[in-house]
């Protein structure tokens, strides 16, 4: 199931009747992006965070992912984890403040999930948010797309 599909305006506008109840709940999830290429999908004040498809393509084959320890508090902008490819190490920063409630342990044994499924199975951590207004400063899908395109043009 693609998070992106269910947050796109097109899907919401034209397919609501076909959406099953569970999926409908997901459709309410809000997905936002940072300029630094993290994504966050928020549902019931819990933000699932990862890096975008654009970011994984830029990094290349991910060989190691450092995931955070659940139970810790994190401030917006603090380091949540890191991804390592042959080419580079990239820090992942939390786009929101809150408590880390879950980390994606599958990434320990299968770091390649970041490449194969960056915005679904390759999620990094879930954060119980303190301040939902923090989402307002982030990019929506369209703004993020524009941001990536302008980065490519440079």
């Amino acid at each position: 199931m693609s998070l992106r599909t269910f947050t796109s305006r097109f899907v919401r506008a034209y397919t609501p009747a076909r959406v099953a109840p569970f999926q409908f709940t997901r459709a309410l999830a809000t997905k936002r992006y940072t300029k630094e290429h993290e994504w966050i999908s928020v549902e019931d004040n819990v933000g699932t965070i990862g890096i975008t498809d654009y970011a994984q393509k830029s990094l290349g084959d991910v060989v190691f992912v450092e995931i955070p320890s659940p139970g810790q508090a994190i401030q917006k902008g603090e380091q949540l984890g890191a991804v390592e490819s042959v080419k580079a190490a990239s820090d992942i920063f939390s786009p929101v403040s809150g408590d880390i409630i879950e980390a994606n342990e599958a990434l320990d044994s299968e770091p390649g999930l970041i490449n194969s499924s960056p915005e679904e199975n390759g999620w990094l951590a879930k954060v119980q948010m303190n301040e939902s207004s923090e989402l307002e400063g982030l990019l929506n899908e369209e703004q993020y797309k524009t941001h990536c395109e302008s980065a490519e043009d440079h």
């Binding site: 990094l59 290349g60 084959d61 490819s85 080419k87 941001h147 490519e152 440079h154």
Partner: protein, 395 residues
């Protein structure tokens, strides 16, 4: 030998500031710039040049493995090519580098080091003995300081009546082809067997009518060649090499992981002007004759270290957990900081993390268990011999 490490930060910059790929006004381009773009080169600033970090048809990992399995072409035209002429050229240059140039046969080359008065390394360089000159290739990022250094000493030498001069070779581009298929690719263009052409030798070869200098050398640990090609013909010759079915293009990304697996130093990371050849594990570059007579800058600091020892040494490390990159602290088993990582990468061939760094003497022996700190986590490491991946030079 490549200096600086801008490209390694490329992805980080991309994620943080997205400033990396902009070709600003004063950035230099090699003669292959348009060729790179046409072939999907992802250009990044490196040592003042726009250089491909990788190409769109292959990631860094695949490109690395392709080079070890078949062959890859690297544009290394950003490197500084110079020539020393005049009958006193060897005498002059021996005052600046640790090599024995009087006893280097024509057609042979050597890795050498420019040293400073304190015994530090100004740059590493390849010097080839030619019939009428010394052909010298040094790092792009060190080009300005190398030239200033040579010219300063050149003037003094000339003023004393020495017969020597320095020519910058700016009408030739430099292209490397590296990997087990490199010889076959070059042989197919020249219709000539290169079996008797051994590693670290150079010769002039006419490639499809173009007079080139070819050195059997490289920066990957593989067999290969570095071709100095008249710039008007470089695109054509590169395309001809690329037309061989085994050959792909490779960028700075693969070049860095390849050289690190081969245990080769990156100037600016693993060597700098505060590091002596002995600390850097490059004592072997100082031949016996130069150990006896000295005569190069800083010899009075460097030579006693061969017997007397040094306080720190460059080592290779295997690292568990996250890759330890440049700047990561190295700790003793007891937790004392004993050095720093200068280069590190997840090795594509070994599927484990490899690194180079400097440790306090005493901790440098093979298999010494150490620790490294990566993002505030302490991980296990172990000293190991280099190269990490055995070299396959053509002897």
């Amino acid at each position: 030998m490549l200096a600086a490490n801008l490209f390694k930060k490329q992805a980080v910059q991309c994620m943080a500031r997205r400033t990396f790929a902009s070709a600003s006004d004063n950035i230099k381009k090699t003669a292959l710039h348009d060729f790179h773009l046409k072939n999907g080169g992802k250009m990044v600033p490196f040592a003042g040049y726009a250089m491909p970090v990788q190409y769109s048809n292959m990631g860094v990992l695949a490109s690395h493995l392709h080079t070890r399995e078949k062959a890859s072409i690297f544009d290394v035209s950003h490197m500084l090519q110079t020539r020393l002429i005049g009958k006193d050229r060897a005498k002059f240059f021996e005052t600046l580098v640790v090599a024995d140039l009087h006893n280097l046969p024509v057609g042979s080359g050597t890795l050498s080091l420019f040293t400073n008065e304190n015994g530090g390394i100004i740059d590493d360089t390849i010097i080839m003995q030619q019939a009428d000159s010394l052909y010298v290739v040094s790092n792009a990022a060190c080009a300005d300081k190398d030239l200033a250094h040579i010219q300063k000493h050149l003037k003094v030498f000339q003023d004393k009546g020495g017969d020597v001069d320095l020519k910058i070779i700016d009408d030739h581009s430099l292209v490397a082809i590296q990997g087990p298929s490199a010889a076959a690719a070059l042989e197919s263009l020249i219709g000539e067997d290169l079996k008797d052409f051994a590693f670290m030798n150079g010769r002039f070869i006419t490639i499809r009518g173009v007079h080139c200098h070819v050195a059997r050398s490289g920066y990957t640990g593989e067999d290969g060649f570095e071709l100095s090609i008249p710039t008007p013909d470089v695109v054509n010759i590169t395309e001809l090499l690329l037309s061989h079915p085994d050959v792909e293009l490779a960028g700075l990304g693969a070049r860095d992981s390849l050289r690190l697996e081969a245990g080769l130093c990156l100037y600016g990371n693993d060597l700098d002007d505060t590091t002596t050849p002995i600390e850097g594990g490059l004592t072997w570059t100082i031949p016996k004759s130069r150990r006896e007579t000295g005569g190069f800058l800083g010899a009075e600091h460097i030579l006693p270290q061969i017997k007397g020892g040094v306080s720190r040494r460059r080592v290779g490390l295997f690292v568990q957990g996250a890759p330890a990159r440049e700047g990561a602290e190295i700790l003793s088993p007891e937790g004392e900081v004993i050095g720093k990582i200068t280069s590190g990468v997840p090795s594509p061939c070994l599927k484990r993390n490899i690194a180079m760094g400097y440790v306090k003497s005493g901790y440098h022996k093979n298999k010494t268990p150490l620790k490294v700190r990566v993002r505030n986590r302490v991980q296990e490491a172990e000293v190991t011999k280099m190269p990490f991946v055995p070299a396959r030079y053509h002897k």
